[in-house]
Subunit: 354 residues, 2 copies
């Protein structure tokens, strides 16, 4: 009996699904009726898109407020073919770099009235494919790819034909990007260590398959090494660094680095450095008197650990700000230009970089 009733009145059906409450969300129509004007007028008043007499405006606004009117953005999106939302693809939002980036993106997106849909690729192509598909279904106006996602460059270029795309901390030819000057920075770090007397080096980082940011860091190292014949050097890449960098750093130190016993260890990440320092400490090796160690990222805690960590700071807020403003420009058909952000070398106790 109830079931039949429901079938007959679809509108009621919806109400029922929404719950016991007979909450009817206020629409433009309700406001229009209450204010004694047309729906068009209410729409214009609320969006401020046309000149409406002051008294009408006031009446409409008063009724909208009284009835607690809330815009239905699905309806607006459908009509205007614009959702005022952007999608963001992170490898994993839980790392400090990405988390700070997410927070900053939220901040700048809010200023431009974009809602933000975060997704994670988990460094897994299938997951990334699904994430992007979900973003496209949601009709995001633009997409930000931040960091080491797995997507093939070709896939991204194809996608860029459908929706404005900006990549952060990664560059793909032909796609607007915001990157850091990794190569120069690591060159400079290696040089500073050399100047302070180091002659044997180990570079430690994630495998750099395809990701230009990590590749550039190692290349900066290679650049310096290959132009100095009085130096011994080795690069160690370990895929364990994609998971628990701290643990992997500790393990790798024991397994390999300790035997090499270099003057300096240059890492691609503060967590790797902290893991190494921890293992060294347990092995009775003192940092920096026995060995220098540098990190990458300047995590919040890096200045406070013992020994404090010499590292490289990346302005994440700037990255986020530029990414948001570039994708906004792209959405609005304005020309966009690639940007490169300078990194900053921070000298603390674990290595002399001054």
């Amino acid at each position: 009996m109830i079931a039949m009733l429901v079938q007959k009145i679809p509108c009621l059906c919806k109400r029922l699904r929404k719950g016991v409450s007979n909450i009817h969300k206020t629409t433009l129509k309700d406001v229009a009726t209450a204010a004694g004007v047309s729906v068009s007028t209410v729409s214009r008043v609320l969006s401020g898109s046309a000149s409406i007499s002051e008294e009408t405006c006031e009446r409409v606004r008063a009724e909208a407020k009284r009835l607690n009117y809330t815009l239905n953005s699905a309806a607006r999106s459908l009509r205007c073919d614009r959702t005022h939302s952007i999608g963001v693809v992170f490898p994993d939002i839980s790392g400090e770099f990405y988390a700070i980036c997410a927070s900053a993106i939220l901040k700048y997106a809010r200023k431009k009235d974009y809602a933000v849909l975060f997704t994670e690729s988990g460094r897994n192509t299938v997951a990334e494919e699904k994430a992007v598909r979900a973003l496209m279904e949601r009709g995001v106006d633009g997409i930000l790819f931040i960091g080491d996602n797995t997507h093939d460059e070709i896939v991204i270029r194809t996608l860029a034909n459908e929706v404005p795309i900006v990549t952060g901390d990664r560059h793909i030819e032909g796609i607007p990007s915001v990157t850091y000057n990794n190569r120069e920075t690591i060159y400079a770090v290696t040089e500073k260590l050399y100047e302070s007397g180091c002659r044997s080096f180990v570079y430690v980082g994630e495998p750099t398959d395809g990701q230009d940011n990590l590749k550039m860091r190692n290349l900066g190292f290679i650049d310096f090494i290959s132009s100095h014949s009085d130096v011994q050097a080795e690069s160690i890449f370990d895929s364990r660094f994609h998971d628990d960098k701290l643990k992997a750093g500790s393990e790798l130190f024991i397994e390999k680095i300790k035997a090499i016993s270099p003057d300096a260890i240059i890492t691609s990440n503060d967590l790797i450095a902290i893991g190494i320092i921890s293992a060294a400490h347990k092995a009775g090796i003192n940092i920096p008197s026995d060995m220098s160690v540098t990190g990458f990222d300047d995590l919040r805690a890096s200045a406070y650990i013992i020994p404090s960590l010499s590292t490289i700071r990346q302005d994440i807020t700037k990255l986020a700000k530029l990414c948001v403003s570039m994708v906004d420009d792209a959405i609005n058909q304005k020309p966009v230009q690639n940007a490169v952000i300078m990194q900053e070398i921070i000298s603390r106790e674990s290595a002399a970089l001054a």
Copy 2:
């Protein structure tokens, strides 16, 4: 001339705004035409909502794929009054606890096919109000409030009449919540320190105005202290802990704690503990032989710093999972029950908690 043309053909206008490209996003109608069936049929095939002959299904699916059909979820939302999205309000997504929580929420939401809209209150009532409003305009099916947001309990209760709400790491009478057993845990920690010989204590944390999680931590401390007459204790609350906890921890140690020189310092956060240890180290005070220090959260790095940090682990993944499944249940009108997650005491070098 162009302008006039545009005015005459609104559809074209939209195309133009979208860019030079004449990309016409494929709709159900296009697929229907291509497959020689009605729009209704295509909708049914793609949603799998009704029995359609196998051959029709195949034809439709083939055409949908060939034309690269993507659902327009704004249209679906408008029609079905359901967006399949949930909103999340964090104080600030960039802290490790919240970042890990965000990642886990994303994971569980994905499994249930929800998109997630993250927002930040920044511990600012006006910002939070705006964030919630934005979520309501987007028509989220439910909202998660995670952590110490500023919203007045009354406001949240009112809001709960409009949309299903679940709070995580916070409890408001009458609203479904997932919390931790903070009070018992800190009681147990204090007790363990007492058993290992400590008789003077300082509790250090954020001011607990309104936030029950932080309040409970301090209450657990008070519970123990007030039932042991041979003990000296003090609680220090500092609003600087809402910003840079590391720096504030260091400063507070120098300003106050050093003079008190307690046997044990119990903090409400690992970062505060790390800041304190750093300052103590610089002041020539050894942790733990001169003083024990405990943290809260078991941050990723806490096991690797020197000295490694004794702390309390909270299962964040479990929190996220429960929050998502509870809000999903609430959305689907299923009954929900509050949950409490047990914390785990981790004994390391900075304090004997075994």
